[in-house]
Symmetry: D2
Subunit: 351 residues, 4 copies
């Protein structure tokens, strides 16, 4: 393994959350964590070399690849009819759902080596991309898939369209990947909201246009007003929820213009539900709310190609702020939860 | 006037609700109610004849027309950029926002005559359509616009697609118009849920395939299970909220398949908000929720043409179950709230 | 086999055409013709029962099924990235590309029994549908896929939208299936053009609104003018080419309104190319031309469900005008080329 | 006027072409050329200040604006139903259709001052943009509108999607604006084809990834093969025609992958038509061909905002290679036709 990035899912799992959202996606301990995986092919069989790659010639030993986090069954209703999305009824994923108690055991990325099961897709990394850029592929693919679900084309004002103003609630690792994606998809302005000054400052260096700090704008109402002030009183075209806090929904909806779109990506854990206004925030606003968990697997390959073309203008690798060895994984995980980190990567061979 | 149908908005207004949803859409008493209007042109000026019609030659006296409920300013951000939708910041509408206290006073459809303001669009009624069919145009246009916002094309499984299974929560006048629209847009199966046996029975005669009665399935959980049983355990592709009850949202979301779409059209009035699960019902489900109030004005003309082509196979006119004279308007309004009515029309000249 | 409909491809093959359009789609004689297949499962293995069906429980002997005409490899670029479309680089199809010289030989539908290869999808037929309706599934699926490629949603005037006026050039079997599809997708008016009075008359009985006969309107210019006259001088929103004649393209483009869409489905055989105007008919007209061969395989299942829901209002089965036994297949094929037939079906057990 | 860029239309007009493509778009001499206009508001009336701007507060004297090239009637079928597109049946445009023989005469941009007619839209220029960047707005808007018509969303492989490989035939001013747009919309790779080494070299500096020179690849077959070699033998996802040569269509279609999209923007002038294969290049290829002339007017405002956000990473202003005074306009026009120029601008006050 070249590296495995720490994801919000890992943080939830560390804090004891066992249910990862999708039906049947339950953590089965013991696990080797790590599903945002970048590695080098060590050994590969002939059939696997052909069927595990989505594009180009068969894979060979020595090639650098991103490994899809999910394995789908190809036979259930969702696999047959909504191809590519990990909505599979028999869905498994590395680093959490797939336990390491069964041989050959090595089913997570925070490790020297990893065993890749039949049915997994792997994606060649363009030579232009550094390891630190490539290890962002999974989270970039989430953003690609999510924007893909919101997209309705440049000549439309439904869903996301290029030249839109995008608000990102929570500019941690998932938030910054959504900011990168918004930029690559032609957003005119990106506004980030967070409580970490460290993350807001870094976000500005990485292409975010405006920031709203919870330290300065402590109340929901102040933050909503700031977004309105930045948008001629109209509200944003697109708001992206990347906080993990389900109770942020009402605030996000109030930041939308009429007919605006709300992408909800982060709110993975919840108990009691959250309160919104069906009449004012949905019907009268003509709002569009889209939940996005996972991504079509083709998104991995596509974001790698886009990142290779944008690497000169977008400093993707600066989003990786910390690296830890496998031995120090727990320290790394704790760092990833602290506000003075962005993406934290576990890498067996620190460079 | 040939007729003016009673809408949910009229019912809300009668019960004292003053705020109609869209920003600035506040009832200014006194009003002459009636915004789902069908009439015959009595007198029309030369410029109006050209500019008030969206298609075909200038209007002439004697022509039968449907009159758009909304007048937009053509100059605000929404008018300029999201043309056709009544999201105008200076929006006015007949029968509620436009008071009859100002001359020439006749700004509602429950009347012998009505004055149509400059900037209003009017739509010729195809000769094939009866008055009772044509008077459904406004509510059909709401459904057309709403399905339009959900539509993503036959080869997609995002949003609504032909051959989908559609659940309609609440099969009153708005619900039945959505059922008509679903049928005309190629739905494979339509399931209606209501507490009125009268409406469920009528819905079956009008093309609904399955019904779920609140009298038989009293609990939310029973109704959800019925929908799952009808869909191989997957849930519906599209659920349409036409109840007016914001607290129905959670039930509707649980009836969706993964990646399904929820059109919220009826929940116009609300005070305390409603509770949903951001993680389970939106993110993990990859749900799409779309609020739809109003419609692009072109929808009026388009539904009239579609209804003309489908009138032999869909008995639209049977949805008009009661007609009252202007004098009996209050009796009519009360009837429209009772469970043994579908669409109620105020018509000056009872036929 | 319950029946196998004769397709344009069969007619081309009979006349000696060996190349069927898609790359690699070359007829390998000897063949048993027949790829629009309806049959009853005789024997099926356990794994096939699960993997050959796209929806619902495993298949069982005795179930009535439509058999996908195409087998794709699941591993090439197109299979991986554009799932469902038969653009597979290793594409094979029954009745033409798959020769019957190899065992077990029975690879075509004009026969008592047919052998279904691993990787083929099969689709349960709803009990409401008669055999004559179900045997139209393949050609209906072509129309579904084609309209799917043109569809841009009801609130758009790009591509096909409900309430559009649709012109169909050539109202033979492919044309009439496109007319059925247009009707089920909410077209406001369908205009059919043909040289066969028999087909035009039948088309009117099957839901076409207007017909243009080549016997009355012999010149291209007359036919274009008739379409303009029927559309306020604007041209049609959608024109569908179902003639098989590539030289019809220029006429079809002239029948479009500005920004209109042209679906080209029939022009399978050609030698010298055809002449169109890039400036006048494409750029200045802002035209959209979409070629459609084959269909996403899910379309089979979806059209069967739609047909079941529309069978009371659309008399699909009347499109099957002739049936022949396997022994009389050549007579049937000749009949299918004559102007006084619509769909011709080869059925082993004439009923 | 701050500047007015020379467009292909001006070159056609100079060479005597009188018909500009859209119905009724006929040059009426005498004209003051110039429709890609950037200026400063000198005097504006109160009503015009409100109605001529599409977003934000009323316009004021001294503000820098891009002036829409087209004036539409707002009342014809296209204005009513396909808002924003210049498909107006009473369409007029500055610098060509609108003659300067009528008072107040100043209806073209190659001048000190220009008179802007009621009904024209004007777009504020973000302060971040230089004059040389802003003067590209009209041609960028053409590209935005064209990509908008091709766009089908990131999760689709229909039409254009981010991460696609884009071929641009002809990398003159229109071609380079399409390359800029492709980059801002997330293309993974842009391949430019031209006969001018000057333009190809400049294109590489401006973000094009690969170039194919007609000097090295003289035959159509060689160029097609080069594109296939760059795309694993598949062909490009999107090809954009910006040559003005209608006979390039066949070559462009052969460069597409199965299901690829061909945007035709440049082929404005033609006499005898061009030959393509309906069967091989459209039907069997499942190709999508989209003609694009003009743009929705909102595109002006949207590209200005996008350019402001991308100006640090895309050197738009380098595309303006030559500037001439109004007195030297003819010299400028001649230079614009020569292969060693990209965008040529007429500017009254050379800076």
């Amino acid at each position: 393994m070249l590296g495995s990035a720490i994801c919000g899912t890992d943080k939830h799992m560390y804090s004891g959350q066992m249910n990862l959202g999708l039906p049947g996606a339950v953590v089965t301990f013991p696990v080797i964590p790590g599903h945002e995986n970048l590695g080098v092919v060590d050994t590969i069989g002939k059939e696997a070399a052909q069927t595990m790659v989505t594009e180009g010639p068969p894979l060979r030993a020595g090639e650098r690849v991103v490994i899809s986090a999910d394995i789908v069954c190809h036979h259930c209703y969702y696999c047959r009819n909504i191809y590519g999305y990990p909505w599979c009824l028999n869905h498994r994923s590395y680093g959490d759902v797939i336990s390491c108690k069964d041989p050959p055991h090595l089913f997570g990325g925070w490790a020297e080596m990893m065993y890749v099961l039949p049915g997994t897709f792997m994606f060649r990394v363009p030579t232009k991309l550094s390891d630190e850029e490539a290890v962002l592929a999974e989270q970039m693919a989430v953003a690609y898939g999510a924007f893909g679900r919101a997209f309705q084309g440049p000549n439309s004002k439904e869903g996301y369209a290029p030249a839109d103003t995008v608000v990102i609630q929570g500019i941690g690792p998932l938030g910054i990947c959504n900011a990168f994606m918004a930029k690559m998809l032609g957003a005119a302005r990106i506004i980030a909201i967070d409580k970490s000054e460290y993350r807001l400052k870094l976000a500005k260096q990485l292409g975010v246009n405006e920031t709203i700090s919870l330290n300065e704008s402590a109340s929901q109402q102040e933050r909503i007003q700031k977004v309105l002030n930045l948008t001629q009183g109209l509200g944003a075209d697109l708001v992206v929820e990347c906080t993990g806090d389900p109770n942020i929904l009402s605030e996000g909806l109030d930041m939308l213009r009429l007919g605006g779109t709300y992408l909800v990506e982060g709110a993975f854990v919840e108990e009691a539900g959250t309160t919104i206004s069906a009449s004012r925030q949905i019907v009268a606003k003509n709002a569009r709310i889209i939940g996005a968990a996972g991504m079509p697997f083709q998104a991995y390959g596509r974001v790698l190609q886009m990142m290779a073309n944008f690497k000169d203008s977008i400093p993707f690798s600066k989003a990786v702020t910390h690296k830890f060895s496998v031995e120090d994984a727990e320290t790394g995980l704790k760092k990833s939860i602290e506000p003075d980190s962005m993406k934290v990567v576990i890498t067996p061979h620190l460079s």
